[in-house]
């Protein structure tokens, strides 16, 4: 449902290593939260917490991913890439569900 590109997965692995997190217990929580001028913003969080009852568990390029039930409906088919360019370094969401995004790029509506 949510996929990481290989570049994004490698960057996540690098963050896990740099932060000294236990590789086998660390999960990437992907979600959306309310707010922003267009509705929702994306979130990425590395956590050692186990999956909750309502979380969907996925795996992409060796990264365990958690998506909570509410976020899942906005994230179906999303691919997460990583970019390192003049704009900065960070993760780019390619979301087929987003019908509009705001100019600041930090939020979208579905």
């Amino acid at each position: 449902m949510v996929n990481l590109t290989e570049t994004a997965a490698n960057e996540i692995k690098k963050i896990i290593q740099d932060q000294g997190l236990p590789a086998d217990q660390t999960r990437l929580r992907v979600g959306v939260k309310g707010g922003g001028c267009s509705g929702f913003s994306y979130m990425l969080d590395l956590t050692e917490e186990p999956a909750g009852e309502t979380d969907e568990q996925l795996e992409s390029h060796g990264i365990n991913i958690l998506v909570d039930e509410k976020s899942a409906r906005y994230l179906t088919g999303v691919e997460i890439d990583f970019k390192d360019e003049v704009m900065g370094r960070g993760f780019v969401f390619k979301n087929p569900n987003a019908t509009s995004t705001c100019g600041c790029g930090s939020s979208f509506s579905a």
Partner: protein
């Protein structure tokens, strides 16, 4: 804190809105209402963008604007000049000295290197900058 002018911000929001619609014509009123931008100010901004060829316009009852240029070819600095109608080159020559002048040069260079496409096209934007990735937070981060 350093930030873009309101006009530049609204110009980017409008271009983002039009970019999502891939060639469909949208009126200034539609954009103003959808993006919650004051209509009168937006009309002036869109007029400037049209005069510079960034937008093309269709006249008539169902008329409006659409993107008329490859957004990779305009820098953020050029866009700011278009909507703010000031000679940023001249402002660089104002009485800035030492650290402030050095900073001004760096900011101008950065704004020249960032294309408008980097900021508004879907799949080009950085949605979660590296420093915003949460690490080791115990609390469930996602709430809708």
């Amino acid at each position: 804190m350093l930030r873009l002018s309101r006009k530049a911000d609204y110009a980017l929001i409008s271009l983002g809105y039009l970019a999502e619609r891939e060639g469909r014509v949208s009126s200034a009123r539609e954009i103003a209402s959808a993006c919650q931008i004051p209509a009168a100010l937006l009309m002036n901004i869109l007029k400037s963008l049209h005069q510079h060829g960034v937008l093309s316009s269709i006249r008539g009852a169902s008329g409006g604007y659409r993107i008329g240029i490859d957004l990779h070819t305009i820098s953020l600095l050029e866009l700011c000049k278009m909507v703010e109608q000031v000679d940023l080159g001249a402002s660089e020559r104002l009485a800035l000295h030492g650290p402030a002048q050095a900073l001004q040069y760096r900011l101008s260079r950065f704004m020249r290197e960032v294309s408008v496409a980097d900021l508004v096209l879907p799949g080009r934007r950085i949605d979660v900058p590296l420093e915003r990735v949460g690490v080791g937070q115990k609390k469930q981060a996602v709430q809708v």
